[in-house]
């Protein structure tokens, strides 16, 4: 009797889970790709629901795009659609919100199964991911080298991310130049100004941070624990990377890396840097005024300005540099992304022409998207535009956008490669073990090197 009931319950559970499995499988991926409706007004509201994960558009005048941030790159894409529609009234863009990680997962899955039909015509990809995906799944990326897009108009360091073997596979979009932003009201309490933080070294940064901490009780910077973002920014600021030119791992005996990790540790010990558990808390610390400054890619401006009550209290300058390292500058890069055209697209010419007409050549378009999205172009001619030199009240009337364009031009390029994330991850683990468990730095770096080499050996 016991067994029968147990069996019945078990059967019930299995049936339920089987049903649940079917349900979720049925919901995703089956939306029709050719749903481009004639009634554009109705489509505006329905498109993102109806074609949630639909693949490339079948219609000759429409394109499907995957990208992730409604206030930023989705907005930019929708504006691009309007610009392109001026000359091509029948053109229709279907922008689908897919998170960056999800785009990468979907590409991996589609390419591994050999069926690219579920992928969109155009997708946005993080610059740091480009080499990994171009190496592993070259069949996904359309070669844009001779497509008519003038790649020489983009910054060289930026262009290099989506270039492989001398061929261009991405249209550069937003800028990831690192900025240091400070709360001027907090600095004043310590008798300092943002000028004291301009063109400084990390040693000076720590000393100044102690002063600010004494005066306000706030740390100078927060960081997501275990995240190697800051370390990677420091590395790139002296043109260093976790890989050598020949692609071998460069973790053990990497002088710049050792120095960056050491500064990080010093900052934690001095209370100048406080670690938080996750990204939400990192953003919260900036917005609720529990930290006096930020060092990150310039896209962080969107999160800073979201706290409208702090208008006029922020100022922007360049980041500190590593002391005593050759080639160390006050400029680096974190993030940024580029548009790729998927090879599965049925409208290759349209996709290229669309990108060329907007992101690839249109200064007017870049001027239009800047004020609302803060998407700072990597298209060099846009930097000369008047819109970029407008003073920004939020940042005390400073013309921050032309400043950032200036920073971007001074960023040393670095080597990413297919195993960039493996290495980054391993360094994050080492950092976490050193900071949180007090593990030996040299030993942890050796482990990190071994882990990456192990992964590369597969």
């Amino acid at each position: 009797m016991n067994r029968k009931i147990a069996a019945a319950v078990l059967a019930g559970v299995m049936a339920a889970s089987a049903l649940a499995g079917c349900g979720s499988a049925g919901a995703g991926g089956t939306a029709p790709a050719s749903a481009a409706p004639e009634d554009t007004a109705a489509a505006e509201t329905e498109e993102s629901v109806a074609e949630e994960t639909a693949g490339a558009s079948a219609d000759a005048n429409s394109l499907t795009v995957w990208t992730w941030d409604p206030a930023f790159n989705i907005y930019a894409m929708k504006e691009a659609e309007k610009f392109y529609q001026k000359d091509h009234p029948d053109f229709k863009l279907n922008v689908v919100e897919v998170l960056s990680d999800d785009i990468e997962t979907k590409i991996t899955t589609a390419a591994s199964s050999g069926d690219l039909s579920t992928l969109p015509d155009i997708f946005l990809m993080q610059d740091n991911s480009y080499q990994k995906y171009m190496t592993n799944f070259p069949e996904v990326f359309t070669d844009l080298t001779d497509s008519g897009i003038d790649f020489s108009k983009f910054g060289e360091g930026k262009r290099a991310y989506s270039t492989k073997d001398g061929k261009n596979y991405g249209v550069p979009f937003d800028n990831g130049a690192v900025i240091a932003a400070y709360r001027t009201d907090y600095l004043e309490q310590a008798g300092l100004s943002v000028d004291d933080f301009t063109d400084i070294t990390w040693d000076q940064y720590i000393e100044l941070g102690k002063k600010v901490k004494e005066a306000t009780g706030n740390p100078l910077i927060t960081s997501q624990s275990g995240s190697p973002d800051l370390i990677m920014e420091m590395l790139q600021s002296c043109g260093a990377s976790l890989f050598k030119e020949d692609g071998t791992v460069n973790i053990v005996g990497n002088e710049q890396l050792l120095k960056a990790l050491d500064y990080y540790r010093q900052m934690v010990e001095a209370g100048v840097l406080v670690e938080v558990t996750d990204w939400d808390q990192y953003i919260a610390s900036i917005q609720n005024g529990t930290v006096s400054g930020v060092v990150n890619g310039c896209w962080i401006i969107g999160s800073i300005t979201a706290a409208t009550d702090q208008s006029g209290k922020w100022a922007i300058t360049n980041m500190p540099r590593l002391d005593g390292v050759t080639g160390a500058v006050n400029y680096s890069n974190n993030g940024g992304s580029s548009w790729a055209v998927c090879t599965a697209t049925k409208n290759k010419e349209l996709a290229i022409d669309f990108l060329n007409g907007t992101f690839g050549s249109n200064v007017e378009f870049y001027e239009a998207i800047l004020p609302s999205s803060g998407a700072i172009a990597t298209y060099l001619p846009a930097g000369d535009s008047d819109v970029y030199s407008k003073p920004q009240d939020f940042f005390g009337g400073d013309a921050i956008y032309s400043k950032i364009i200036d920073f971007a031009g001074k960023v040393p390029s670095n080597i990413t490669g297919a195993y960039y994330y493996d290495a980054r991850d391993a360094v994050g683990v080492a950092l976490s073990n050193v900071i949180q468990s007090g593990a030996d730095l040299e030993a942890e770096l050796q482990t990190a090197q071994d882990t990456v080499e192990f992964n590369m050996g597969g």
Partner: protein
Amino acid sequence: MNRKKGLTLQKKKLLTGWFFVIPATAFIFLFSFYPMLQAFILSLHRGVGQNLSWNGFANYTRILKDRVFFQTMRNTFVYLIIQVPIMLLLALILASVLNNRSLRFRGLFRTMIFLPCATSLVSYSMIFRSMFANDGFVNTMLRGVGMAPVGWFQSGTAARAVIIIALVWRWTGYNMVFYLAGMQSIDYALYESAKIDGASVFASFRHITVPLLRPTILMTAIMSISGTLQLFDESVNLTNGGPGRETMTMSHYIYNTSFVQSPNFSYAAAVSVVILVMIAVLSFIQMKVGDKRD
């Protein structure tokens, strides 16, 4: 077509049985066993995407040298050894208490204890993450009673404790329901006569409930163990494997080798097969030890 006149009653019954069993069996083969076989074949290859080449058992020998895999295996077994006994014992106690017919509002209590199972794995993980954040609910409470706040996600031990607490919260009610179902088949008169004989509550639990529930306990133990060995959502969403890799589970590592690191599906498949073997061995041992019917 089988309705020939010569069919005996027994054969007819047999055919009816097969008729009901075959669709389900076919589906299980198609959607469960066939992918498993494919995964095994994949694990014998190397390469990315469509460019696969034969690799023999190299992926399996590679696992033996993989320090990260062994770390995630240790983590997973820590969860297994600490969490499963706590959870099953707690579920058993709760079930016995709620099986008591003189208890009021039994239905309400049962529902409340079962409710955590109705929440999505991702959302409860995220809620736990914010509860145990540095300035989250738990630390605020600790400060309130004059204790020092704990950096829950800053040390491996504390982060593992959070995962274990979360798992117990999420799954105790689920196992309790199995025990309650099992207890329905235990004659309540047994408890009443034990009471008349002067047996304590503990004695009747020890000598009536536990022995009669043995098959159910065995089943929940096997399910919990295989569930824990495949633990994924909590590791990803609650701690993201951190600090370092201190809380990363084996399944999380499989995911990382496929989607976070440079993709290596065949190696991930090999690790999956190893986990399958582990679960099979553990379940087999349990069945041999736990089933005393013969």
